[in-house]
Symmetry: C2
Subunit: 198 residues, 2 copies
């Protein structure tokens, strides 16, 4: 029974993801998710209280993958510029992990600007990543030789580049190697940050 | 009569903007726009063939403002790094001009990834701005001293920063001075770009 239950859960998540991608999160209904998954509404509500909760699980899966990747990069850090350059390597992985889901995440993010409860869910990982970038930039400057305002700008620039590149990847997935573009852009920001102090 | 017609048109645009902001583009209906504007459906369809066409007018107004600003910055350019740093000054203006409309534009952009016709409308200005940034970066290097790949990266980075900062401005409008952040980030990218060749 446990196995069958897990199977049903996986079917719901897959069906929801396909539907959200095709018609958008907003216009998708629980009934449509059930039809596509080949299950009853009762089975759906046994697993999830709402359409939103399925979405949050999709989001959480993606974020877990990002967190694991960032953790791996940090544990292998060398305490200098190298760590952020290596961190840039994660962008291709982040984009791959979200394949086919990015438009949904984005739609959800926009929607969350209008909904207090969603807002808290959407903003928490964002705050965490900003903090992470701040920390990595700080570790690149163990002597405290770089102006704090420049480090703050660099951390926000890295965050902004990641968001901007992800968004372009949504609209034009195949037009550019977004992962490589991310790596090179982040490298350039860091070279700019350390320019005056090196 | 001409004046009254223009008034009705303005009322429709204002009502649509308010409604799109509050409930989202997707869920807003022409009937609701009419109620809010205090006009009949007949009057609406006299001015616009569809909800989408009202949206496109909102989008086009915003883009016209950006184009004028970019044009002004280019005509005052000095042919060196200064021109792109000054271009960064436009970000605050772009954000102000879109005040209250950014979530709508974003929702529309996401939506356009699923709709061929909208896609062409959404992608055209994007391509134009990418081309613009390429040109400005090129003008910063009249001697051709900088590696073309570095210039391409810098142009894409500036575009990505602008998009990433706009998107963060949507979600957290008051948390940061996004215009100032844009100016400083772009400056840092440019310092990174010219680092090896200077």
């Amino acid at each position: 029974m446990q196995t069958r239950s897990a199977e049903t859960r996986a079917k719901i998540i897959q069906a929801a993801q396909d539907l959200f991608s095709q018609t958008g999160y907003e216009s998708a209904s629980v009934a449509e998710i059930c039809t596509r998954a080949g299950i009853s509404k009762g089975a759906f509500y046994h697993h999830f209280p709402s359409k939103q909760s399925v979405f949050l699980e999709l989001l959480s899966d993606w974020l877990k993958g990002i967190d694991l990747g960032l953790e791996a990069l940090r544990s292998g850090r060398t305490g200098n510029e190298q760590s952020l350059v290596r961190m840039a390597e994660i962008l291709p992985a982040v984009i791959r992990a979200a394949e086919g889901r990015l438009p949904i995440f984005l739609e959800f993010w926009v929607h969350s600007a209008r909904d207090k409860e969603l807002w808290n869910t959407a903003i928490a990982p964002y705050q965490r990543y900003r903090e992470y970038f701040r920390m990595v930039v700080e570790e690149m400057d163990p002597q405290g030789a770089i102006d704090p305002a420049r480090k703050e700008t660099a951390a926000l620039a890295v965050m902004s580049l990641a968001i901007g590149l992800l968004l372009q990847g949504v609209v034009a997935p195949g037009a550019t190697d977004w992962g490589a573009a991310g790596r090179e852009s982040i490298r350039m920001v860091l070279e700019g940050m350390t320019r005056r102090s090196s």
